[in-house]
């Protein structure tokens, strides 16, 4: 059980106010726009930054308490932190990176096996692909058997395919090792796939806290599939408007009524949903 209750002034425009409880084995996603303070929350939990006042209690152990003047160093907190840019030590091989965290060869071998990285253990970080680096960073963070795993947008530097396989890996590890995981992300699909609970962070405050699927669909839409898309362009054509949308790496054009288009502007995030009425389905062949 993690109890967070703290305040930190990040800059003149942003003051973080967090008051939440997180149960064991939860997979939390902190979602919000960049600059909302997502990463700062992780860094505060990790002890890399200090709140102005408040408390952080993990399993009845006080990690931070401004009243009692307690502030556990990052070294003393049982966390695993995965940085945006892997942060592997360039001077050490994969195996050495793991053993640096904890000199426990059995655990290192176990984690390497779990992520199918055994063959790469003698390689150096610059000899790995982006996805492999991030997997090594993940298992390195698990070497010390942390209570909490903190993931700071670990997929942002990866392409779609690598993202998906790393996401699967993270779910597997989260379940297998019974971890409590907190993920910072600004990708809706990622949040829905991974987490069981989302904190929506806006201007330093958690404005919503719910299951991802109920948060991201304002009202229950009785459709069979939904896509998250971004509006790239709006064009008027006779009595309709043509929207150019991007979702993932695809770009599509759809037509909507002028009334619907009026409420949209370029850059808006929207959800397209469709009823399961005569869709075209084709099996993907590899």
């Amino acid at each position: 059980m993690i109890k967070l209750d703290f305040v930190k002034k990040v800059n003149n425009n942003l003051t973080l106010k967090v008051k939440k409880e997180i149960d064991d084995n939860e997979f939390i996603a902190i979602f919000g726009e960049s600059g909302a303070g997502k990463t700062t929350i992780l860094r505060i939990i990790a002890g890399l930054e200090k709140p102005d006042f408040g408390k952080i209690i993990v399993d009845d152990e006080i990690w931070f308490d401004s009243n009692k003047n307690i502030n556990l160093k990052p070294q003393k907190r049982k966390i695993g932190f995965v940085f945006q840019e892997h942060a592997l030590f360039p001077n050490m091989s994969v195996y050495e990176n793991l053993l640096y965290a904890k000199n426990d060869k059995n655990r290192a071998n176990l984690l390497l096996k779990l992520t199918e990285l055994e063959d790469l253990k003698q390689r150096f970080p610059h000899e790995l692909s982006g996805g492999q680096k991030q997997r090594v960073a993940l298992i390195r963070a698990l070497m010390r058997e942390p209570k909490i795993v903190l993931l700071d947008e670990p997929f942002s530097a990866l392409d779609m395919k690598m993202r998906e396989s790393l996401q699967d890996e993270i779910i597997k590890i989260h379940n297998q090792l019974k971890l409590t995981t907190i993920l910072v992300s600004h990708e809706i699909a990622e949040v829905i796939k991974l987490s069981n609970r989302v904190f929506i962070l806006k201007d330093g405050q958690i404005i919503k806290d719910d299951k991802p699927i109920s948060i991201f669909t304002k009202q229950k839409i009785t459709s069979s599939f939904k896509l998250n898309a971004t509006v790239l362009d709006i064009k008027d054509k006779e009595n309709l408007s043509i929207l150019t949308l991007s979702f993932g790496s695809n770009i599509i054009e759809i037509s909507v009524s002028k009334k619907e288009a009026k409420e949209l502007k370029v850059g808006d995030s929207i959800i397209i949903s469709s009823k399961s009425f005569n869709p075209i389905i084709e099996k993907i062949k590899f």
Partner: protein, 221 residues
């Protein structure tokens, strides 16, 4: 004559060697401090470290003579421990350490600054303290800067003239180094010997720097 030639060269390299070792011991913590501190004294310390770059060596030499003469408080304090800094080898080392400090500190400081902050933080979150992070993560990842700093300090000490002349005088076998010997021999119209000293210094400096540049190309960052 030949004996004195080798004696002088030996002294020159001994001075450079001792100076570099001492510089590494005091320069590394200074570079580390300057690279990561947010303290307000940083600009002041930085200025002191960089002063020798712009100050005439004679100014530094003059102050060392002034502050470390046996009549001064500092000088008489050190004399109790049998340390004399005026017209001695120890004095040369002191002067050279101060004078070559920026050449060691600057490259190493920028090396430290070029290391992504996340590497250091990763080490902390993996339970490692500052000291272990310094030796296992920071130093191994700034090898090129470390090499440049060390070699520049060494080479610069070999080439030092003004401070050494002021503080050391010109005592053969004790404080007479090659750069001063050249000046001496030219004054005495002894061009042959001056030429030999000059050539040795020229060649050594050339090959030291060449080695650094070749190695820096090879070292993986």
């Amino acid at each position: 004559m030949d004996n004195q030639f080798y004696e002088t060269l030996f002294l020159t390299f001994k001075l450079a060697f001792v100076t570099t070792i001492i510089l590494l011991i005091i320069g590394l913590p200074i570079a580390y401090f300057l690279a990561f501190t947010k303290s307000k004294v940083k600009p002041i310390l930085e200025t002191f470290v960089s002063m020798p770059l712009v100050l005439p060596p004679t100014v530094l030499g003059f102050y060392i003579l002034l502050f470390f003469s046996p009549q001064s408080a500092i000088g008489s304090f050190f004399e109790k421990f049998g340390l004399k800094f005026v017209f001695t080898f120890e004095g040369l080392v002191l002067g050279s350490v101060i004078y070559s400090l920026p050449f060691l500190v600057h490259p190493i400081q920028s090396g430290f600054q070029s290391i992504p902050k996340s590497l250091i933080e990763a080490s902390y979150t993996l339970g490692k303290g500052e000291l272990q992070t310094f030796f296992k993560v920071l130093l191994p990842n700034i090898k090129p800067s470390l090499l440049s700093g060390t070699v520049l300090a060494f080479a610069h000490t070999i080439g030092e003239f003004g401070v050494v002349l002021m503080v050391g005088g010109n005592i053969p076998g004790k404080t007479k180094v090659a750069s001063i010997a050249i000046y001496d021999e030219v004054e005495a119209l002894n061009y042959d010997l001056a030429n030999r000293y000059a050539l040795v210094l020229f060649l050594i400096s050339f090959f030291i720097l060449l080695t650094v540049y070749i190695l820096n190309k090879k070292v993986r960052v």
